[in-house]
Symmetry: D3
Subunit: 227 residues, 6 copies
């Protein structure tokens, strides 16, 4: 099985310790024994802190994006450090490097690539490039809702969505550096054009990730067409 | 003045010769004497031919995108070859290289950067990163229409659009490698978030480019807010 | 068996499609199942078109060479896209990268390297560096003739030539960018100094390539010494 | 004047904002108007947090050092983002890149280089390589003491020390990743061999940095020989 | 077994020939059949000659160090050339490249990395990064003495030393480019912090290296603690 | 004036010192005050020693060439170290880097680029790429002779030769790594195709170089056509 896991920035809280990351390291190590795996890490709160400071210091949005990328790469390096020889030691900086690293059959851990792309888009591009059988997007929410559950008490979690439905739900969201949505439009388009099977799940509960990687139903699936 | 020019793939037809490119070279040379200029070239028909062949040979969309990028970079190198010492000799491969090259005060010519990004998005990112005063998108159409003028005889050309209107007009367009629209969603989002002043003009008439670079009204302007 | 195949630019005609390349892809895939293979692609008509435009725009011969190299690399990327995971995803940019890629045991596809070197020379350098057992030069002619068969009706095809004879036959040919001969002097010198076994064959008939790679007599052989 | 400023990790506290960095940005901008300046940033508390997590996850000290380097480079990028076009946009990754960037006459900001080297050593190497007239080490202490003032109430601050005295005072300090001393032995040796004029000052008071850069007496000077 | 061998510059005398290196090549080839091996080569007399010339021409110590690094890398390339396909063809330029190359299971040969680091320090860093079971430092002396045996007839060779004793013995040695001691302070600190098992042996007798790699007692061992 | 100087390996004898290089450093510094200059250094006796050892150890000719390139680059670094801030600190590794460095208006020093190319060819390529007004080839002989003056007492020095005559005189010379002739065929072809004005002079007398750079007649000129 070839899998891509997006591990959201929630896994890298301020003042993080080995306790925060340990459970993810264990799941990744286990899964990678028999499967090819690429992990893309988000930037999380540290990225938001640094980006806010940069923006206030007068940085362009392009530079703010770059700073967010650096934090996501730092998170990737930290996760990688816990995987030892199970992972490639390099953190790929673009899709070509990622494909090169993925040829080694060891876990590849990466962060963001380029300004204008969220780490969700990076994960979608990676899934397309390595022809992944499954792309698990581990976020801090339970799945895709009909509307924002924090604002709308009538919001309903969906078991399945198509990329087009996903795009409609997401339209209108912000796009400042570091504020990328659950799944940005670029990610949605990549998923659609290459019909990538995606599961969006709540990664705060690590076992969800393991389940989703192994094809179990947890959260919301993105399916090419509604049945 | 700092300007970014997207020169669409139409300027690089199959069997191209110096006659096709000469007028653009001249305009660029002239404009760059007093202004900082970054030019982003599209892939055009050659890109579409190579991409179609790759897709039929079984390539992933990510690889097809990469091939389109290589053609756009080849076009960039050709354009650059006509600019001599007025241009930086390198064709930047990502935004960081572009910013580095732009610091030289000579013309920078570049093509695509990464899979998932059209050359329009590259141009928008470049405009954001160098803090351009004007971004001219030289395409093969006269501007933005209310609907596709090739299909709808009632389509009306717009003098101004906001990024949000632009996004609405473009929604529903294709996204296969090499089929990127007039202005893809990523480009629109970058333009919106950094309030970049854009002119979309018909570059088949080279003088339009010169006019647009010098701030004259030709084609459609993208404005942060409707007046 | 370790082999190097130079696939001439004839295989990449203007308006190319998967039909043009399919037969070569098939032969390469088959041969590479049991053998190590490096393929070097030429630039062909697209290179000549771009070079002519550049030269007319005032580019130096060094830049013209560079543009030819970019086209040959584009052709390499296209061929590579048809080989999927049978090939290394990177297109090496110099001999060191090529040797590194070749260590992976998968097919390596490359184009030109540096101004002043034809892709024939690149193929000869590759054959020397990987210590190839056979170097097949697939061209658009049937082999080496005593003189140019297009001009001299008495020209006779040779079954074998030595590098020195080859050099004599080729002397007096042009050397503008993109006009490199069947086998340029640098290629001949490399072949001579490392006694590389070469077969020059007509690649327009794909089966010739398969035969030549498998050691059968098709076209002309370059042999260290005349028997 | 050519100067190198080491800005210790204290300037990048957890939850940092533009307020923390603003005063340093202002001093650097001002000083760089008439002088060549290289700034080396430390990793600080964020580095220590990430390193502790990595170590607990089983990383080697070499990888821990690498993670500290990444944080220091992130800090460099943030500081750089506040300097706009006054600074080179790239964060050099080794001494050769640093020297190349320094040739541009704009401010160069960098973090760590290689495992085994503290950012103090990087700053000393930078000062040697660019032949700096002054190397200001802005730390979180007031200068060099005869012994550790946190442990020994009789510790006395020194106005001047020689590199050899410095080495003696520092001997016996720890050397885990992220725990590098005020000035590590490598930094001291570089300072000694190239007789680099150093001022160690308390950077928590930003004006000290300005004074030290302008040659005023604040903190402790390292002088080749005791007068 | 994972081993790191530092092969001192003594193995690369002026006017060197295959006879000088042959015995080392043989030992390395043999040992690497069953073990992972990284070899770090010193610069030796050629480095000292070039550095002396550079210094007299006015070069900074940083540039002198760089020149010494280039010579050590040249020596690495030469040694590598004798190992054929048993070794990785690239000479890593930093620790990240070294770790990447070491993942290939073939011998990795490298020289110096960065100014300020001796090749002994590089070897210690390599041993730490690849988690070597043994680090053999093949020098031109028989081991560690209580004092300099060339100056002090009462000097006694030690069978074992701790890193701290080693540091004490070495203190006071020079540090100009190319004059690095038997084991510089950085190397000693790395060995200490990661408790790397080291044997210092006289490499002029090649069989000592083979013995030391295989865990036999030849020369002086550096042990974490005195027994 | 734009000039390219090839400084043959004779300037870097075994056991070299600042005395050997000083006169060349002085001439280069002086000339570069008002002119753009690229210097290409040969490998000389040190290259030949290392190559002979590598060949005897079983290296391919490609690797032998690579070793020769490394020595020529080491010589370039040494020469560069004497030029201080008058020269670009980087030693370009290929033609694209060279062109980039040459844009800085400071002296660029480089060695070899790629296997199969002598440093004479590199110098010719550099002269073509930077559109040099003069290419001075400083060798250890007085110029081009009708035949080898060491073997033929009737050999006559020529004041002028055409590239074709040069090619004829040189034909039959060896081509092992490190044994490249006065001017190899590739260099001759580049000179011919771009009509580069060349002076071949005896660089053992440093003043000849100064004269040749300033357009005076010393040695043999290569002229496009015989008058």
């Amino acid at each position: 099985l070839k899998a891509v896991l997006k591990l959201g920035g929630f896994a890298f809280p301020p003042g993080l310790s080995a306790k925060d990351l340990g459970p993810y390291v264990k799941i990744i190590r286990n899964f990678s024994k028999r499967n090819a795996l690429t992990v893309v890490t988000g930037g999380g709160p540290t990225a938001r802190t640094y980006i806010a400071a940069a923006r206030e210091l007068g940085a362009t949005e392009a530079v703010c994006d770059r700073i967010g990328i650096e934090v996501s790469r730092l998170n990737a390096k930290l996760l990688c450090s816990g995987l030892g020889s199970a992972a490639v030691s390099d953190i790929p900086k673009d899709l070509e490097e990622l494909v090169r690293c993925a040829a080694s059959q060891r876990v590849v851990v990466t962060g963001g690539f380029q300004p204008g792309q969220s780490t969700n888009a990076v994960a979608a591009l990676a899934a397309e490039a390595v022809q992944a059988d499954i792309f698990v997007n581990a976020t801090s929410v339970d799945g895709v809702y009909t509307s924002d559950p924090r604002k709308d008490p009538a919001a309903k979690k969906l078991d399945e969505v198509t990329p087009d439905e996903m795009a409609r739900i997401l339209s209108g969201e912000g796009f400042g550096a570091g504020e990328y949505a659950l799944m940005d439009p670029l990610a949605v388009r990549i998923i659609k054009r290459s019909r990538i099977p995606v599961t969006i799940t709540n990664g705060r509960e690590p076992s969800n990730i393991d389940k989703a990687l192994r094809g179990k139903r947890v959260g919301t699936r993105i399916v090419p067409l509604r049945r």
